[in-house]
């Protein structure tokens, strides 16, 4: 423990004098702590009294703050009117703020002006001394020796074996964190889109006729079969893979149609997976004149006129396109499932 002051606020408690530091190390030797400068309140009783009153006022502010909180909590009506919610929130916040700041500022002001402010000095102790270290080393050696673990390798080796294996059950126990029945990446290859499944609007669930889309239109689509799924979790998982953006552009403006995709569109109507091939955000920002499709999360940009090729951003692959046709009743339907897995790339995806 270091030197402590005598408690007289006019005196410095510190007793470092000149030359306490290493001598000759620097251009000048350590001059020691600067002389203690008394505060106004140390020498003038009136100033001290004023500080005392200021602290008391701050504590009163705190009391007022608590009252403001109670007014906010009990007096303001708690209705569906959000303006009242805001008023209440403001009163609660300001009330607590006053209550807390009053105490905090008051106590600190008290400490700063009225409590002794001389700095004190404490010596640093070494974390260990050499003889203590040797003693500890001796104890460790004795303990190991007495346990006999070094002399009896059979015990040691079987213990190591057991200790390595024993935690494994705790790891295995977590296997059922995955609750899916057919655990594995295989199910990521398929969605519920299939031949003849109607394209319906999200969220209304109404089917779409080709004539419903004019040039420049964009529509958010889910498969009709999604509406039949009752289990909430399963529904979300299937929706997460099968959401589609349906757009119509002037057929003249479609620039690229690769082999085998000639019948995937219908009079300029194109359907593409909304799940970004980067990390899976819904890509839904469609610019009708540039035919660009932008993902708001990481800004991958896809060109709808060129089979959704990546023209900007981090996505590694084009968006999968859903082949569509028109059924007997004139509604848009899928020709098949997507021909490749939708969404972000994963290790097992391969060339699919």
């Amino acid at each position: 423990m270091g030197e402590h002051g005598n408690g007289d606020p006019r005196e410095s408690g510190a007793v470092i004098n000149a030359g306490d530091g290493e001598s000759g190390q620097y251009a000048i030797d350590d001059p020691g702590l600067p002389p203690h400068r008394p505060r106004l309140a140390d020498e003038d009783e009136n100033t001290a009294k004023r500080s005392e009153r200021q602290v008391a006022v701050l504590f009163l502010v705190s009391i007022i703050g608590t009252v403001i909180f109670f007014i906010g909590y009990f007096v303001v009506g708690h209705t569906a009117d959000l303006h009242e919610v805001r008023l209440q929130n403001t009163l609660l916040g300001v009330g607590v703020a006053f209550a807390m700041l009053g105490i905090g500022l008051g106590v600190v002001h008290w400490a700063k002006t009225l409590m002794p402010d001389h700095e004190l000095v404490e010596a640093r102790k070494p974390l260990r001394t050499e003889d203590q270290r040797q003693e500890a080393e001796q104890i460790v050696g004795d303990v190991l020796e007495e346990s006999g673990i070094k002399r009896r390798p059979l015990i040691r080796n079987t213990l190591i074996g057991a200790a390595v294996l024993a935690p494994l059950p705790a790891v295995v126990l977590f296997r059922d964190l995955d609750l899916s029945e057919d655990f594995g990446p295989e199910r990521m290859r398929h969605t519920i889109w299939d031949e003849g499944v109607r394209l319906v609007r999200d969220p209304t669930g109404t089917p779409v006729r080709a004539a419903d889309l004019t040039v420049g239109s964009a529509m958010h689509i889910v498969p009709e079969t999604l509406l039949d799924i009752t289990d909430h979790g399963e529904k979300l998982a299937e929706k997460a893979k099968s959401v589609v953006l349906l757009i119509r552009m002037d057929p003249e403006e479609i620039e690229t149609v690769s082999e085998g995709r000639e019948d995937w569109t219908y009079e300029g109507i194109i359907a593409a997976s909304k799940v970004c091939t980067h990390v899976g955000c819904p890509v839904a920002l469609y610019e009708r004149h540039t035919h660009h499709l932008l993902c708001p999360c990481h800004q991958s940009t896809f060109d709808a006129a060129n089979e959704f090729e990546v023209i900007f951003g981090p996505a590694g692959r084009p968006l999968p396109q859903l082949p569509i046709a028109v059924d007997d009743e004139g509604f848009l339907v899928a020709r098949s499932d997507f021909t490749e897995p939708v969404g972000p790339s994963y290790w097992e995806r391969g060339n699919a």
Partner: protein, 265 residues
Amino acid sequence: MKALSQKRRHPFAGVALLLLGLLMTGGLYAAATTINEAQASSEAQEYSASDIDEGEKLFAANCASCHGINAEGTEDAPSLIGVGAASVDFQVGTGRMPMQMQGPQAQRKPAQFNDEQTQQLAAYVASLGAGPSVPGEDLLDAEEGDATRGGELFRINCAMCHNAAAAGGALTEGKFAPSLHGVEEKHIYEAMLVGPQNMPVFNDANIPPEDKQDIIAFLKTYESQGTPGGFALGSLGPVSEGLFVWSGGLALLIGAMVWLTSRSS
């Protein structure tokens, strides 16, 4: 942008704009090229022949330099034949047209024409070819719409560009989806109907009139309910919150720290 738009109040603004329009060349992203098959959304407004005549004069003086003397379009601006009255009412009514300067997209600014002139321009353009007409009052009454349903439709169809709190957002190459705060019901409706700039078209077959009304109801409810938590910091989400905590929050804390560790006089 603001400073510029104020300068344009000058009486010669129209002339200056004309000259500017003539001088400007280069790519134009704005406005509609679509041959819109959409049907008029409510009872088609009847325009008188004098409206059309007045509109033609206004058009020749203010718009023809870019859109062509017969609105057939030029290198700088698209044809307006068949875009309909709704398109004109939106573009001119929100001040986007006449355009201040060529850029990634036309900016919203104080309207250059009064309601009557806007109507005359709309009448003239509507007379050039069939297109969506200005919606009737009955479709715009936010009180009639269902805000819950409108909210759901908004989040699926609009929020990805305009932000969940309708505060706007960025598109590619300097384009952006504007904030929807303070936009008139009529203009919200027309925007959905015609798809101005790069916005997709949400015609009545895609989002029926009553759904559009629900969306308007949601936006107006949202606007009138205020922000219950306090100042919304632009409703821009975590970025503005983080910025606030690193500026205002940190400044308050450092102020307290410096005061706390400073020596009393």
